[in-house]
Symmetry: C2
Subunit: 238 residues, 2 copies
């Protein structure tokens, strides 16, 4: 677990309170706490913002208001801008995923998002060490402000843990191989008795295929017990 403080999100001249609230919600989802607003066209406590925050009110309440971008980033050593499309100037652009390890390794990083309609201005871009980009389909590149913050925050959160898939077991535990073989034995016995194989010399391959179905499933103890019951029930046994 990385122990650096999460990046600070800075919105420049945001227009819609709904977006402010949606930004706060997305920040909360991914462990970001600190929001700065430069010349916002709404109050962070606007009811529409609070409604969209869906519980991330504390981020809106703690948001600070700034009269200029310069003032909002004055105390930050590392500040990145965001921009959908490259402008006519010499500037380093980085996909947000590629930039995130260096961002997550630093303290007091600011990430600046421009107004909904226009993005950051050509006069603002030179203030940033680099420009973060969310790669999008060039034929439809207009990313919603809150979506842009959400994906950036998501990428930061991905650096904070090693998220791995797993079989969720509920209140049971994995079956042992012995339990699985016990079920397969019962199944084979039942199929022998009910003349499932029909043509005897086909049994080996049919039985191999059937075993492969049940051994790739990561059966639990409870599931093995259930399957024993299924066999009994199908055979009309009590």
């Amino acid at each position: 677990m990385n122990q650096k403080t999460p990046p600070i999100i800075i919105l420049v001249r945001p227009q819609l309170p709904e977006n402010g609230g949606a930004v706060a919600r997305a920040m909360g989802n991914f462990g970001l706490k600190s929001l700065r607003l430069v010349e916002p066209l709404f109050s962070p406590l606007d009811p529409k913002a609070i409604a969209m925050a869906a519980g991330a009110d504390s981020i809106l309440e703690a948001a600070t208001i700034h009269s200029s971008l310069e003032e909002a980033i004055a105390d930050l050593p590392y500040v990145y801008g965001t921009c959908a499309v490259e402008r006519l100037m010499v500037k380093k652009y980085m996909p947000v995923r590629e930039a995130m390890p260096e961002i997550a390794a630093c303290e007091r990083v600011g990430i600046v998002f421009g107004p909904e309609r226009t993005g950051l201005s050509n006069e603002e871009l030179p203030k940033f060490r680099a420009i973060l980009q969310v790669p999008v389909d060039p034929e439809f590149s207009s990313l919603n402000l809150a979506q842009s913050v959400a994906i950036t925050a998501y990428e930061w959160y991905q650096t904070q843990g090693n998220f791995k898939g797993k079989l969720h077991l509920g209140d049971t535990i994995p079956a042992t191989n012995d339990q699985i073989q016990g079920f397969l034995g019962a199944l084979e016995h039942a199929l022998d008795e009910t003349h499932f194989w029909r043509i005897d010399h086909k049994k080996p391959i049919m039985w191999r295929n059937l075993q492969n179905i049940f051994t790739r499933m990561d059966l639990t103890e409870q599931e093995v017990r259930t399957l024993h019951g299924v066999i009994k029930s199908l055979r009309g046994q009590p």
Copy 2:
């Protein structure tokens, strides 16, 4: 470039037209085209949906309406559900990033999202081969529907290209080493003439530091010309 068709997004009982529109916009941003709605509480052509789609109208216009989840996924060989929190059943959960290579490698994959308030029901989850999750802060795990679709679509799009950071050059080209050394020679000469070094034996280390500033910057031809002009101007030369 992977040539498989993108995943199909399936929304079950979505409540708000704004979310339908925001989902369409996010799909468009990341190259997804196909949207299916199961018992939606709004028309995909609701003006609020169209407004939030911000140009992704074609996705809403092509969306199909289905009377049940079963009908909506009947033709799909691979169907994943989504769910924020593990339920009390034995089920495979995968972070969306980890699952995406197998999703991107298949044709006709469906990804199903539940209603805003409740998510997919315990009766619906068994229909899916696995459950995709966006890892979120456990203290604030309520992810907006459109954000959830956006991050899923973003992760799919990330599998479609090798996105790399670069210095965007505008209309100029990188300076050659010869041009950079030419500038450094002019700078050293000017600093010699203006007695910058003061203590002669300190020049080697000071000059090494100064060179390191200018050689780590990936200067362009235009920037080198500009810097030559800066030196001239500072020296009061025409």
